[in-house]
C-alpha cells in the first residue's frame, strides 16, 4: 500500500546514523583492542592488551571496584528514591504534586559539572559545611570531607538520582490505592504492605531505573575524578589515561571493550532476572 520510496527516505538517515556512528565505531573498538606490535615492532594481531589487564592487579582491581561501587550506588539510589516517589504519588496533596515533581526535575537539567562543583565547595576543607561546623563548635579544626570513597558515592547517587525517581513515580502512579486500603483493612502491617504490594508492583520501574543508574555510574568520569580521592581510581579514568596520557589506544580500546562488556552483561542479567525486554524498559 505504501511506496517503497517513502520507506527508503526514512530508512536512509536512520541507517546512516546507526551504522556510521554506532555499529562501525564499536566494531572498530573491538578490532583495535586486538591490535598491537609484535617483537619486531610491526603491527600485529595480539591478545596482549587483554593479558595486560589480567596480569596487572591495578587494572582488574579498579575494574572490580568500579563494578562494586556502581552496584552500591544503584542500591542506595533505589532506597532513597522509593520513599520519595511514594510521598509524591501517594501522600502529597494533589496541588503540591506538580510543584514537587518540577522541583525534583530541575536540578538535573543543570550541568553535572556545576552540581559536582557545588558539592566541592560544600564539603572541602575550606568549605561551607566546615565553616558552619566550626562556628557552631562541633569541630575544632576543619575536617576534609571531600576526596574519599563516601563522598564519591554520595556524589554519584546525587548525579543519578533523577533516573531512579522518574520511573518509580510513573509506576507508583499506576498502583491502585484500594489495594493498599484493602490490605490495611485485612490487618496487614506497613512492612507487609511494602513487601507484598508496593515493591512487587514497582518492579518494572525499579529495574529500568537501576539499569540506567548503573550504566551512568559505571561510565561516569567527572564525579569520581573530582570527588574521589587520589586512591579511588575509577575505571573510566584508566581508559582516559590510556587514551590521553599514555596515548596507548590499543590498550584503551581493550579497557573500553571490557567496560562495555561488563555493562551489557549486568543489564542483560537485570532484564533476564525480571523477565523484561529492553524496549519495555526504555519506554
Amino acid at each position: 500500500m505504501r511506496s517503497r520510496l517513502g520507506l527508503w527516505l526514512l530508512l536512509t538517515p536512520v541507517l546512516l546514523w546507526l551504522v556510521l556512528l554506532i555499529v562501525l565505531p564499536h566494531i572498530d573498538l573491538l578490532l583495535m583492542s586486538f591490535r598491537g606490535e609484535n617483537d619486531l615492532g610491526e603491527p600485529a594481531w595480539t591478545l596482549a592488551n587483554y593479558a595486560n589487564f589480567f596480569s596487572e592487579p591495578v587494572y582488574w582491581l579498579t575494574f572490580a571496584r568500579t563494578a562494586l561501587y556502581a552496584v552500591i550506588t544503584t542500591a542506595i539510589t533505589a532506597m532513597l528514591a522509593m520513599p520519595v516517589a511514594f510521598y509524591i504519588t501517594k501522600l502529597a496533596r494533589q496541588r503540591a504534586r506538580g510543584a514537587l515533581l518540577v522541583l525534583l526535575l530541575l536540578p538535573f537539567w543543570v550541568s553535572e559539572l556545576v552540581r559536582v562543583y557545588g558539592w566541592m565547595i560544600l564539603l572541602r576543607e575550606s568549605g561551607v559545611l566546615n565553616h558552619f561546623m566550626l562556628a557552631l563548635g562541633l569541630v575544632h579544626k576543619p575536617v576534609e570531607m571531600l576526596y574519599n570513597d563516601a563522598s564519591m558515592i554520595m556524589g554519584l547517587v546525587y548525579t543519578s538520582m533523577l533516573f531512579m525517581v522518574v520511573p518509580l513515580v510513573s509506576v507508583m502512579d499506576s498502583l491502585d490505592d484500594s489495594l493498599i486500603e484493602a490490605a490495611h483493612d485485612l490487618g496487614a502491617h506497613k512492612r507487609a504492605i511494602w513487601r507484598t504490594i508496593i515493591i512487587p508492583h514497582c518492579k518494572p520501574g525499579l529495574v529500568s531505573g537501576s539499569i540506567i543508574v548503573f550504566m551512568l555510574t559505571l561510565g561516569n568520569y567527572l564525579t569520581p575524578n573530582l570527588m574521589g580521592g587520589k586512591n579511588s581510581l575509577w575505571f573510566t579514568e584508566q581508559i582516559y589515561n590510556q587514551f590521553i596520557a599514555s596515548f596507548n589506544w590499543n590498550q584503551g580500546a581493550a579497557f573500553g571493550f571490557l567496560l562495555l562488556l561488563l555493562s551489557s552483561l549486568m543489564i542483560w542479567l537485570g532484564l533476564k532476572l525480571t523477565r523484561q525486554k529492553l524496549g519495555e524498559v526504555a519506554s
Partner: protein, 284 residues
C-alpha cells in the same frame, strides 16, 4: 500509609522530615554555588565578605568577571553552537526514526530497533573513544589511499557534534515515538481518501500533530548537548565546550568566577526546562 488511611503522628512527621531533608540534599549544592557567586572574596568559600558583582562585571586584572573572561565566553559560544547543531540533526533523524519504527513495516525492523536503543546502555565514555578511534581510522585510510587530509576526522568541533548526536537522537526518537503512538490513524486515512499524497499527509497532518513533542525533544536535545562531558572530553579539539573548560578550571583551582558562570547556567537551564515543561503541558 496513604492519604485515605489513618497514620500515627510520628510516622507522618518522620516521613515529612525525610522529604524535607531530601530536597535540601537536592538543592544545597546549587544554592551555595549561587550565593557564593556574589561573595566579595577571592575564594569560593565562606566567610561572607559582603555583596559584590565583581565576578560578573569586573574587568580585571585582579578579578576577572565572567563578562570579561574571553576563554569562558568562547567556550560558552562553542557550547551554544554545538547544542544548536546537535538539536537540529538529532531532531531531524530522530523524527525520521520514530516515523519509521511506528508506521513502516520492513525486514530486520526488530534488529534496527534494538540498535536504536543501544546508545541508552552504552556508557558515554565508550561512545566517545569508539568514535575517536573510527574517525582516526577513517582519516588515516583516506590520507594513505587518496592523500586527502580531512580535519573533520581529528578531534574537532564537528566530531563533538557527531558524538553527541549519536546518542541524543535515541532520546529524541523515544520522545517523538511516545506521542506518535497516541496518534489517531484515521486522520491520515481520511486525508489520503480526500486525495492528499503521502508527503502532504506527513507534512500537514502527522508533523503538525507531532509539533509539541518535536519542540520538546529539541529542548531536551539542546540541554543534553549543553551539559555533556563524558563523550565530549574525548572528541574535543581546539574549541572546548563549556563543561570541558569549567572542568579544567575546577580541577586546577577555582575562583568565584566559576560560581558566576554556574549561576548563569543554573538560571538559563532552569528557564529553558520550565518553558519546555509549560509548553509541554499546554500541548497535551
Amino acid at each position: 500509609m496513604i492519604r485515605s488511611l489513618p497514620t500515627s503522628r510520628g510516622y507522618d512527621w518522620a516521613f515529612q522530615a525525610f522529604i524535607i531533608l531530601y530536597f535540601i540534599f537536592l538543592f544545597a549544592p546549587l544554592v551555595v554555588t549561587c550565593v557564593l557567586a556574589f561573595n566579595d572574596s577571592n575564594f569560593p568559600s565562606l566567610p561572607w565578605n559582603g555583596f559584590s558583582l565583581d565576578w560578573f562585571l569586573s574587568a580585571g586584572p585582579a578579578r576577572v568577571g565572567i563578562f570579561h573572561d574571553s576563554q569562558t565566553l568562547r567556550a560558552l559560544w562553542t557550547s551554544f553552537k554545538t547544542a544548536f547543531f546537535v538539536s537540529i540533526f538529532s531532531v531531524a533523524v530522530g523524527t525520521c526514526a520514530s516515523l519509521l519504527f511506528e508506521e513502516e513495516q520492513f525486514r530486520f525492523k526488530e534488529l534496527l530497533y534494538f540498535l536504536m536503543l543501544a546508545p541508552l546502555v552504552i556508557p558515554g565514555v565508550i561512545l566517545g573513544i569508539s568514535l575517536l578511534l573510527t574517525a582516526n581510522t577513517a582519516g588515516v585510510f583516506l590520507e594513505e589511499s587518496m592523500e586527502w587530509d580531512f580535519a573533520l576526522f581529528r578531534p574537532s568541533f564537528w566530531l563533538v557534534v557527531m558524538g553527541q548526536f549519536s546518542f541524543i537522537t535515541t532520546f529524541v526518537t523515544l520522545v517523538v515515538s511516545a506521542r506518535l503512538r497516541k496518534f489517531d490513524r484515521s486522520l491520515e486515512e481520511a486525508a489520503l481518501n480526500l486525495g492528499a499524497n503521502r508527503f502532504q499527509v506527513i507534512r500537514h497532518i502527522t508533523l503538525r500533530y507531532l509539533r509539541p513533542s518535536i519542540i520538546g525533544a529539541a529542548a531536551v536535545a539542546f540541554l543534553m548537548s549543553f551539559e555533556n562531558f563524558n563523550t565530549t572530553i574525548f572528541l574535543v579539539g581546539s574549541e572546548p565546550t563549556l563543561p570541558v573548560t569549567l572542568y579544567l578550571q575546577v580541577r586546577d583551582g577555582s575562583t568565584p568566577m566559576i560560581n558566576a558562570v554556574s549561576l548563569l547556567l543554573i538560571v538559563g537551564t532552569s528557564c529553558l526546562a520550565l518553558a519546555n515543561l509549560y509548553f509541554g503541558r499546554k500541548g497535551k
